[in-house]
Structure formats: structure tokens, C-alpha cells
């Protein structure tokens, strides 16, 4: 793969890509909103990876004698439970920290699944055109017509709840966005000089796609992927809220909210804090995504 075909100019995207990406990163670092977003994302990732070290080792540790204890700054609250306890006497803060895991795993896995399928389909459709494009376009039309939330709800309900079902269900609803963007980019790229030259030199389709087209659609896909992470986190929490998410013994923000809504009136903290966690995490990802888009792809504004 690394050996250049003689006589073919290196794809300008590659070289320019490297330099422009360094510049983009510098631009990103100067955008205060994007920096805030990056810091939030970093905090969520740290919580997810080091949950057992930051919080109690067992997020399911229950104490039926101290259920629904309010946050510590409210009368009746204790320092041992800064954000209070839930209906089983479990520590809300501990479960929020552990809950970052599910959101992080779902967000990343969904982007990998959806991105892989979507980018591949988009590249193929745009590069091959003809019947490949037509088939992919038909499947895309079906997917776009399907109510997404309902599709995910139906898949999880029928297959049975669980982390991987949720990831698969959301992943299978997220690929379609990439196809649209990547296909459009590819259609314009394939007429560009360096691609035509590679074709003329007899490079295989796989090589043209992998070496010349993929690097040039990467920016757009990365920006889109960021927003898809945000969407996946919200959708996962919605599924958990409907009782169709990860098993309740795995702490997740949506699941905590689902438990907490029964106690909305008497113990609002069980519903407020997990929701804030989702909102802040998603906001972080969105801010980072906005920044990335401005930095990598200024034309799309």
C-alpha cells in the first residue's frame, strides 16, 4: 500500500491534509467553546475509564436503611452521599460516574459501526456509481423513511435488552448520515486530477478508494461522527428510559432517570442529576463537534 505507483502524483489531499490538519488543530485550540467541549469530553472519558478508582468500587452497593437521602446541601443530606441516594439507597454520584461507561462505550461503538458501514457505502456509491449507487440509494431511502427512534425501540424490544443490542440498534440507524455526506464528496473527488491519474495508471479500485478518496472524505466523516456520538448518547439514554436499555444492574444515566421519575415529586435529585450528566456530556461533544467543523471544514458553515 505504501509504495507509490510510478508516475502517479501523490494525492494532494495526503500532503496538504497533514499540514492543513496541524493548522486545524491549532485553530481548534484557539476556539474557547471547542476547548470547553474537549475538557468535558475528557472528563467523561476519565470517569468511564477510571470509575472504580474515582468512585466506590460497587455502584450497586445498596443500603435499604438510607434510601432517598437528599443531596448533602439540603437538610437531611449527608457528606457520604454528596448527590443523595436513590430508592435502593445507592449513591447517586457513584452511579453517575459509573454511568459514564455505558455512554462512552455506546457513543464510541456506534460511531465505529455506523461510520464503517456509512463511509464504505458512501465511497462505493460515489466511486462506482451505476447499479451499486442505485442499490445503496434504495437502501438509504428505506432507512430514511423509517422512524429512527421507533426502529431502535422495536429492535431492542424484540431482540431483548442488553448493551450490545442497544449498540447494534443505534449503530444500524446511524450509518445513513455518512452515506449522504461521503457520497457527495466522493462524487466531486472522483473527477479530480489525482484520482483520474491513479485510475489511468491502473490502480485497483480498492487502492484508489483507500489511498486517495478515504483520506479526503475523512474530515467530513469525523465532524459528522462527533455529532453522531452525541445522538447515540441521547438515544441510548432514551432507550434505557423506556426500559429497553442496558440491564438495570449496569448503571446508566438513562436507567437512573427511569428509576428516578417515580420519585420526581419526593426525591427530585434522582431524576435531576443523571439528566444533567447526559446534557453536559452531550453538550461537550456538540461543542467539540462545532469546533472541529469550523476548523476542518470551514466551507460547510
Amino acid at each position: 500500500m505504501a509504495t507509490a505507483v510510478a508516475g502517479v502524483p501523490a494525492a494532494p489531499g495526503d500532503i496538504e491534509g497533514v499540514t492543513s490538519r496541524t493548522a486545524s488543530l491549532r485553530k481548534l485550540a484557539r476556539d474557547p467553546a471547542a476547548v470547553i467541549g474537549a475538557v468535558i469530553v475528557a472528563i467523561v472519558v476519565v470517569c468511564a475509564v477510571f470509575a472504580p478508582l474515582i468512585a466506590h468500587a460497587d455502584p450497586n452497593a445498596q443500603d435499604l436503611t438510607s434510601t432517598l437521602v437528599p443531596p448533602m446541601w439540603i437538610a437531611g443530606g449527608v457528606h457520604a452521599h454528596p448527590l443523595g441516594t436513590d430508592n435502593l439507597g445507592r449513591d447517586v454520584l457513584t452511579r453517575i460516574i459509573w454511568g459514564a461507561r455505558v455512554s462512552a462505550i455506546v457513543g464510541i461503538s456506534v460511531v465505529i459501526i455506523g461510520g464503517t458501514i456509512g463511509v464504505t457505502a458512501g465511497l462505493l456509491a460515489g466511486y462506482r456509481r451505476g447499479w451499486v449507487d442505485a442499490v445503496i440509494a434504495r437502501i438509504t431511502d428505506v432507512q430514511l423513511a423509517f422512524p429512527l427512534v421507533l426502529l431502535a425501540v422495536a429492535i431492542v424490544a424484540v431482540v431483548g435488552p442488553g448493551l450490545w443490542t442497544v449498540i447494534a440498534a443505534i449503530g444500524l440507524t446511524s450509518w445513513v448520515q455518512y452515506v449522504r455526506v461521503v457520497r457527495a464528496e466522493t462524487l466531486s473527488l472522483r473527477e479530480r486530477e489525482f484520482v483520474l491519474a491513479a485510475n489511468a495508471a491502473g490502480a485497483t479500485s480498492a487502492r484508489v478508494i483507500g489511498r486517495h478518496l478515504l483520506p479526503n472524505v475523512a474530515s467530513a466523516a469525523i465532524v459528522l461522527g462527533t455529532f453522531e456520538i452525541a445522538r447515540a448518547i441521547v438515544l441510548e439514554s432514551s432507550l434505557s428510559f423506556l426500559g429497553l436499555g442496558v440491564p438495570p444492574t449496569t448503571p446508566s444515566w438513562g436507567g437512573m432517570l427511569a428509576d428516578g421519575r417515580q420519585y420526581l415529586d419526593t426525591a427530585w435529585w434522582t431524576a435531576l442529576f443523571p439528566g444533567l450528566a447526559i446534557m453536559i456530556a452531550v453538550m461537550g461533544v456538540n461543542l467539540l463537534g462545532d469546533g472541529l467543523r469550523d476548523a476542518l471544514d470551514p466551507a460547510s458553515r
Partner: protein, 505 residues
């Protein structure tokens, strides 16, 4: 451009229907009742869901109704009944009863109702209700006989009392229509049903039982517990069901609200799946786990005190209960001793999963979590696997929940027969237990017409179930309702609500 925007807005406005106008309420007392869900259908022969029955039972009558004592029946459409021979029960029907459309009620309607349930084309889920009825005979317009294949202690048709519909009306209008336009002999007639919103009923002037004190009844479903409580406090509703225990002090001391409760016929238990391999097949382990669980603590901490500890799967408010049957009291030392005897000293090597549904029964998952926590105190590694109801009951039907699973059971007949036949006989689809002696005794009891002998048989069964436990016996619930202060109403143990038993001040 402006024109286009206007067009767009105009189109939206046109699409949105006009705000519903509130019709002026007719005179007479109105009571609003809020359950968690709306009725599925207003055809009373179709489903087996309690909230649906609570709506349709205002409109439809049965031959008889449950009394407050186990086995007691109160005449409704039937005035009297007697056993003609071991397999035949004869009912004399009330005369001069009419359906709200004027059709007279006769024995043909009773027979039609049974046939309708039985006809596979109607897709009724009530087929288990009439399974004991082999034939229906109608010697005259006011006599009905139910005939069973074998002698049965509980007469055919009384295991689960079905509702009586108007044969002529059903045949004329068809299934889809009658599902939305009910015509019954009951105390109320339907004014309007707006699905998933509200069902409005007015007193039936033709009801044989006289005029109900409450003239208008509205069922307004409110799914969220917090929203139900809020609706009661603001006066938007008069009666709410399934009050979470954390609201009890607030509602009991409320300015316009009060709490009413009753001991339920519903018990919650943890069953052992003895059909799949595992430590739960060992009798000693099952006994030990019964000792390991501290039921009074669960009732106090998880149910907020709203429950009654049980000693046997046949509870005191059921026919067949015998106070001399021993139970398991919480005893950690005894549990550890039995575990050691079974080969699990200090619980080592025992790793158990407690399956539980989410939101099916009051505090279902919390109870399972508490029990898993108590297992840990005798050294057993225990985790809870909780799932939403549909996938849970699907696995339950395939007997795939193992080694331990939580279930609730409510037998409106308040007779041990229902519990033993459905849950312990090895032929029952829900049973994950096999004990030849229980099978034999249960079969005998089902056909035993002598009350004293039948009672003795259930005592024997209870003793076997104590020695070779199929469950960890837990508790019966106390059903919590809250009402506005103006409403006078006593709840019943079978979770049903009758507006004609209410009055307002």
C-alpha cells in the same frame, strides 16, 4: 415569500384540530377514577387485564360476584345456584333484566358468552376462564346448567366468573363494533370513550339494581405515579390506584386527600426453578434460603410497612389455609447450618441469580434487590437480573428463568386450588416444580366435593410444600389507594373497583 410563510402556517393551523370544548357536565355526582392504563377494549370477553375489567365491569354484569370471605359468592344476574349432580351446576337467572338497548336478558345470552370465548375465530384470551365448562344447557329462558367432564370442587364457571354480553347485539354488530360500543346489563352505560384519554359513563336508568349514588363515572388513565398523585391533590381526579408508599404520609395528611387500603389477595414470592440443574435442586439449599430471608425487614423497609408476612404459599385469606402449618422464620445460623450440610459452608461456591420483572408488581425489582442483599449476609454471592415484563414473562412461559425468579400471584377466587393447580402441579405451564405427592394430592383436592376433606388435603399439600419448598415464601401486599375526602369507598382485595359501591358527600 410572506404569502408562502402564511400558507405554511395556515396549513398547520388547519391540520391541528380545534381545541376540544368541554361539554357542560350533566347534573348529578361525578367521580373520576385514575388507573395507570386505559382499557384495551370495551369488549368484556376479550382480555384478562384488571384495569380493563375495572372499566368494563361498570357496564357488564356477571352471574355472581365475589364476597369478602373466601369462596363466598353474591348473586348478580343469577339469583341462586345448586349442584344437580357431581358434574352439573344449575343457575336460576334474574327475571326482567334488560340490556341498556332494551334487549331482554335470558339464558341464551349466558350460553352465547361462553361460546363466544370458546370460538377460536374471536381470539379471546379468556379461554382458561371457561376451560372447566364442557357443555352449557339452557332448559328454559331463566335456567342455565354448566356441565364439566369430571367432578370439580369449584363448580365449572366459578373459577373465574366471566361477563355476560347481549347475544343479539353481538351477532348483529360484529366484534370490532362491540369492542368500542358496549351494551351491558350493568349499573352504568357508556357516554364516550376516548382511547388512552378518558372513558365517561352515566348511570344506567334500566339497571336492575336500582340507581347508583354516583351518577357519572369517568376513568382517566394517568401512567406516571407522580402525575396521578398530583392529579388527586389538585382535584382533577377522585381516586388513584397503586399509590407508591413514599407518598403515603403526604396523602394521608393531605387537606383534601385520604389514604384507603386493603389486604390484597396478591402475594409475591421467589420461586426456585427445580427443573434446571443447579444448587436449587437441593432441598437443603432451598430450606436454607428460606431461613436466610428476613421478610419483616423487607416489608418494613421496601414496602413502607404495607405488606403481610406469609408462612405458606396458601395465605390466610384463601380457602385451604391452615394456621398449624409451620413457616420459616428469619434465622441466619440455621441457614448457615443447612448450607454447610448441603456442601456450601459459609455459602462458598454458591452463586445465585435472582430474576425479577421491572414495574409489574409494586416494588418488584426493589424486593429482589433486597433479597439478593440478604443472601450476601449468609455468604452467598447473589445478583439480580431484572427485565421489563414482556421479555420476562416470555422466558417465564418457557421456564427459562433460573435458578431463582420472582413472581406475583392473585387468585380472585381466593381458593388454594388456583395456586396449587397453576403453580405447583408439574403439568402446569408456569410450574418449575415437581413433587409426585403434591401432584397426587392436588388432583384429589380438585375433585373433592366434601369441604372438610378438601381443606384437609390442602393442609397436607402445605406441609409437603413446607418440607420441600418450591418457593421462598414472602408476603401479601396491602393495596394502597388514595381518594379525595368527599369520596366514600372501600377497596376490595381482588383489585377491582365498582363505582356503584361508591358515594360522595
Amino acid at each position: 415569500m410572506k404569502r408562502v410563510l402564511m400558507l405554511l402556517f395556515g396549513a398547520t393551523l388547519a391540520l391541528a384540530p380545534a381545541m376540544p370544548l368541554r361539554a357542560a357536565d350533566p347534573p348529578g355526582a361525578t367521580v373520576t377514577i385514575s388507573q395507570g392504563v386505559d382499557a384495551d377494549t370495551l369488549n368484556p370477553l376479550l382480555t384478562t387485564i384488571t384495569p380493563t375489567f375495572n372499566v368494563t365491569d361498570q357496564i357488564y354484569d356477571r352471574l355472581a360476584d365475589r364476597g369478602s370471605k373466601p369462596g363466598e359468592l353474591i348473586p348478580l344476574l343469577a339469583l341462586s345456584w345448586k349442584r344437580l349432580n357431581p358434574t352439573t351446576e344449575e343457575y336460576k337467572l334474574r327475571h326482567n333484566v334488560v340490556f341498556s338497548n332494551g334487549d331482554p336478558f335470558t339464558s341464551a345470552d349466558v350460553r352465547f358468552s361462553v361460546d363466544w370465548i370458546r370460538n377460536p375465530a374471536n381470539n379471546s384470551k379468556q379461554t382458561p376462564y371457561i376451560r372447566d365448562i364442557d357443555r352449557v344447557e339452557t332448559p328454559d329462558a331463566y335456567t342455565v346448567r354448566f356441565i364439566s367432564k369430571t367432578p370439580l370442587a369449584i363448580p365449572p364457571g366459578q373459577q373465574n366468573l366471566f361477563r355476560i354480553v347481549d347475544a343479539k347485539y353481538f351477532k348483529e354488530k360484529g366484534n370490532a363494533y362491540v369492542g368500542e360500543h358496549p351494551i351491558g346489563t350493568g349499573p352504568y352505560v357508556l357516554r364516550e370513550w376516548r382511547r388512552d384519554d378518558q372513558t365517561i359513563m352515566d348511570a344506567n336508568p334500566k339497571w336492575w339494581g336500582g340507581k347508583p349514588k354516583v351518577e357519572h363515572v369517568i376513568f382517566k388513565a394517568i401512567p406516571e405515579a407522580a402525575a396521578r398523585v398530583a392529579a388527586l391533590r389538585t382535584g382533577a381526579t377522585d381516586l388513584i390506584t397503586n399509590v407508591p408508599s413514599q407518598y403515603q404520609t403526604q396523602l394521608a395528611g393531605g387537606q383534601s386527600t385520604k389514604l384507603v387500603s386493603t389486604r390484597s389477595l396478591r402475594q409475591l414470592f421467589i420461586a426456585f426453578n427445580t427443573l434446571t440443574p443447579g444448587p436449587q435442586q437441593n432441598k437443603l439449599v432451598r430450606q436454607a434460603l428460606n431461613y436466610a430471608v428476613d421478610v419483616p425487614s423487607i416489608v418494613k423497609n421496601v414496602l413502607g410497612g404495607r405488606g403481610y408476612e406469609l408462612t405458606s404459599p396458601i395465605p390466610p385469606n384463601y380457602f385451604g389455609y391452615d394456621a398449624s402449618v409451620p413457616g420459616y422464620k428469619h434465622d441466619v445460623a440455621k441457614a448457615k447450618e443447612l448450607l454447610a450440610k448441603a456442601g456450601y459452608p459459609d455459602g462458598k461456591g454458591l452463586s445465585l441469580v435472582v430474576n425479577a420483572p421491572i414495574g409489574r408488581y409494586n416494588r418488584d425489582r426493589e424486593v429482589a434487590e433486597a433479597i439478593a442483599g440478604q443472601f450476601k449476609t449468609v455468604g452467598i454471592d447473589a445478583t439480580v437480573r431484572a427485565q421489563e415484563w414482556v421479555s420476562y414473562s416470555d422466558q417465564n412461559n418457557r421456564r427459562a428463568l433460573t435458578p431463582l425468579y420472582e413472581l406475583g400471584w392473585n387468585q380472585p377466587s381466593a381458593d388454594a386450588d388456583g395456586i396449587v393447580t397453576s403453580l405447583f402441579m408439574s403439568t402446569a405451564p408456569l410450574s418449575c416444580y415437581k413433587n409426585d405427592e403434591v401432584d397426587k394430592l392436588a388432583d384429589q383436592a380438585r375433585g373433592e366435593l366434601d369441604v372438610a376433606k378438601r381443606k384437609a388435603l390442602y393442609k397436607k399439600i402445605a406441609l409437603v410444600l413446607h418440607d420441600d419448598p418450591p418457593w421462598i415464601v414472602l408476603f401479601e401486599y396491602e393495596d394502597l389507594y388514595a381518594t379525595s375526602k368527599r369520596l366514600h369507598w372501600q377497596p376490595r382485595g381482588d383489585e377491582s373497583i365498582r363505582a356503584n359501591e361508591m358515594s360522595v358527600s
